[in-house]
Amino acid sequence: MLVIVAKLVARRLLAAVPILLVVSALLFCVLRLLPVDPAAMSLPTTATIAEIEAKRREMGLDRPLPEQYLIWLSDALHGNFGRSIQFGREAGSLVAATLPATIQLAGAAMVLAAIFGLGGGLLLFHLRGTWFEAVTDIVSILLLSIPEFLWGLILLFVFGVALHALPFTGAVSPNLPQPHVTGFLLIDALLVGRLDVFASAFRHLILPALALGLAFSPAIMRVLRSSLFDVYHEDYIQQARLRGLSERQILLGHALKNAALPTLTLAGVQFGILFSGTLLVEVIYSYPGMGNLMVDAVRNADLPLIEAIGLTYCVAVLLINTVVDSLYVVLNPKLRVR
């Protein structure tokens, strides 16, 4: 079993390599074809044409595009994405400094989305056939119409501004120290034994995570409900009923396990999108993650940084898809045969 999963993961990762190569080439080309000159941008505005030309040669910009790409790729494989134009620091190290905060946010949001999705799906299914069904149906479409970006603003307004219940800027109160061990603030606070920092970081995480969780749960809810409908048409549900199992036992013991598979496929896709959805939520809550860094880089046309962050998002999404695919095999015995 474990071997099969390991093999599958390895195969998936191998399949992701060509995709990643093409993606990186595409990213590189799009950004090189832009009407911005990275050489001119990395020099002060007083630089002469000759100085810019020298810089262009130094950066390899005078060579043909495929050659430039190969140079960039070999550097990138060594973790060297070049220097950020606006910060003057290694783009790779900037990404590494902000990635943990984004992973922490995305992780918390995924847990919330799964809980809401599962709970909501079961509730929707439970209400089938009652007059509530039509109402919940409309409500779930309306909920689907609220993207994470609007949830972020709504929650910020209700719990931050109107009720003063929760903080809505940054990752931790500005008067508290930010311990740095692993980069994951919640874990680091515990490692250095600062419970006050942990509590503050936790409170700062609630609203952004909730915004993402609420935005991504309705789709999971609806798929779970419709897969439960499909499963209830199967003979084994009727058999379970004839054996005298209670409706509750049938739902939780038999139907849910089988309905989980299509739900998981969708949840995988959703989690991939959720990871990139952190970008806007981070901007709204001034949360110091990769998304905020990306918007900063994009506004300043900071090409090395954009390339580094863009590639990191793609890798993250491919990884999430791989994990979900393997989970699928773990849960679905039919796929384990080979």
Binding site: L34, L153, I273, V298, L318
Partner: protein, 285 residues
Amino acid sequence: MAGSLAHALRSPRVLLALAMVLGLGVCAIFAGFIAPHDPGEQNLLSILTPPAWAPDGDPSFLLGTDSLGRDVLSRLIYGARTAMLVAVFASFGAMIIGTILAHIAGYFGGAVDWIIGRLVDVWMSFPPVILSLILMVGLGVGLDRVILAIVLVDWTRFCRVLRSEVLIVRRHDYVAAARLLGFSHWQTIVREILPATLPLLITLFSLEMAIAVVVEAILSFVGLGVGPNQAAWGQMIADARQYVYQSPWNLLLPIFAIFFAVAAFNLLGDGLRRTLDVRLAQAER
């Protein structure tokens, strides 16, 4: 097709959605007549005034003003124009590219299908938000650029779904019969396959309009959207976010506007899906 459209028009869900879309359309088309002020006109003497019914409200600014003294109601109405322009043209562009590639891939199969399939895979491994931001860096701000960026990002949504539909339709006997009658490949696709995929196409188009509204709002919110000279809901939110304590209305109104537009297109898409999708409609009847 005409029969199922008539059937769709009897669904209360579709009717409600159409009414909402119509309302937005009227705002968009007749913005110049409806809006009480020029959306860019600044009244620096009356900035951040509350709505007219509030104690300090000014009756000439029905929904108050923003941080530059611009009329919020007028900006909302002109914002609807921006949102609808983007929704219609971006969805249309994405639909054209996606539909053509999907039909080519699904109809011819083989190497063409493989290449288009891999292209979609690569495209979809870019998270849409990230890809559109990167494209906006290259394209620069402006209404036409936003539309182009959305087309370049979202054609895959049409392509992937429609391709599998074409694969199914292609196997029908009437398609083979058309070929035997001497129809060219092009004639077969346009006259036999396209009519069969049309219901799905219409549904996808409606859902894509909802997505386009959100993407436009997001790009305008981060300042890479339609540009400062055009009123956009995303921009209004970004502006109001800074003055949320002074004038909460300025934040809530554009949020509601976006929600209204997205809900209208999603309801329409869902209603059309239920009534136009032959298989689903039969299963539910």
